[in-house]
């Protein structure tokens, strides 16, 4: 019963992160929304692992953690470069590559 409600919580967290990613234009907040969505995914994995009594859920959590660490370090470097070059963090301003 607890794991079912944990899955519902994971869905709600993922939707909040998705809404934040789609509605905010500041690139730092878009990164934060990505973190929220990754957390929701790992909560779903942990709930599944707890439901079936297997260790696979926590192992997938470890992989998601690794992915998030690598992603955040590279993405924050990109944020720093963008703020140096464009003097803004607005995602709509980075439109030099329009075809």
């Amino acid at each position: 019963m607890l794991t079912t409600h944990a899955l519902v919580l994971a869905i709600m967290l993922f939707c909040i992160g998705l809404v934040g990613l789609l509605s905010r234009r500041n690139i730092l907040y878009m990164l934060l929304s990505l973190e929220i969505m990754l957390n929701a995914a790992s909560l779903a994995f942990i709930a599944g692992g707890a439901r079936w009594g297997q260790a696979d859920g926590e192992i997938m959590f470890l992989f998601i953690l690794t992915l998030a660490a690598a992603e955040v370090s590279v993405a924050l470097g990109i944020v720093l470069q963008l703020s140096y070059r464009f003097k803004t963090l607005d995602a709509d301003a980075f439109s030099e590559m329009k075809g």
């Binding site: 019963m1 607890l2 794991t3 409600h5 944990a6 919580l9 709600m12 967290l13 909040i16 992160g17 809404v19 934040g20 509605s23 905010r24 500041n26 730092l28 907040y29 934060l32 929304s33 973190e35 929220i36 957390n39 790992s42 909560l43 942990i46 709930a47 692992g49 707890a50 439901r51 079936w52 009594g53 297997q54 260790a55 696979d56 859920g57 926590e58 192992i59 959590f61 470890l62 992989f63 953690l65 690794t66 992915l67 998030a68 660490a69 690598a70 992603e71 955040v72 370090s73 590279v74 924050l76 470097g77 990109i78 944020v79 720093l80 470069q81 703020s83 140096y84 070059r85 963090l89």
Partner: protein, 165 residues
């Protein structure tokens, strides 16, 4: 046991909604730290103690410190801005949510072994045995992911030289 889960879930949802609706980046980061700690409590209640510890140490510690460093690097801090951050109004929301979580943890410690963790089945194998057994290819792939992440962060983190080369 389940009441603790629902309280932590409500704290997580409130903090997460405040993250995406806040204007100041540092306030949003404060709320995100509270949400991560509440999520770690939920992991603990689901029987994943190792994941709960990692969530606090790596997410709440390392990744959030990275975010805060970048926010500090993005703009020089004006004195008025720092003064506005030190007013009580900005600290009340995260503090109340964190106090709720502290109460829950205190209750868990006081209850001791009397509360059964609501896991459906006891886990048969340890994490490390499975991680270095069937999932060894995943460990190798994670190392192949972390090394380009390190190089990419080093390359992107340098200051841009003024004159084009």
């Amino acid at each position: 046991m389940e009441v603790l889960f629902y309280i932590a879930a409500v704290v997580t949802l409130v903090a997460t909604v405040r993250v995406i609706t806040h204007v100041h980046a540092v306030h949003a980061l404060l709320y995100l730290v509270v949400a991560l700690i509440a999520l770690a409590l939920i992991f603990y209640l689901l029987g994943a103690q190792f994941a709960a510890a990692l969530e606090i140490i790596i997410y709440g510690g390392a990744i959030m410190v990275l975010f805060i460093f970048v926010v500090m690097l993005l703009g020089p801090l004006a004195v008025e801005q720092e003064k506005s951050w030190l007013t009580p109004g900005t600290w009340v929301g995260p503090s109340v949510l964190a106090l709720v979580l502290l109460g829950e943890v205190g209750y868990l410690i006081a209850a001791g072994d009397h509360l059964p963790i609501d896991v459906m089945e006891t886990r048969r194998k340890g994490i490390s045995i499975v991680l270095y057994g069937p999932y060894i290819i995943g460990v190798e792939l994670a190392s192949m992911l972390l090394l380009p992440g390190l190089i990419g962060a080093y390359h992107l983190g340098r200051r841009v030289s003024k004159e084009p080369r």
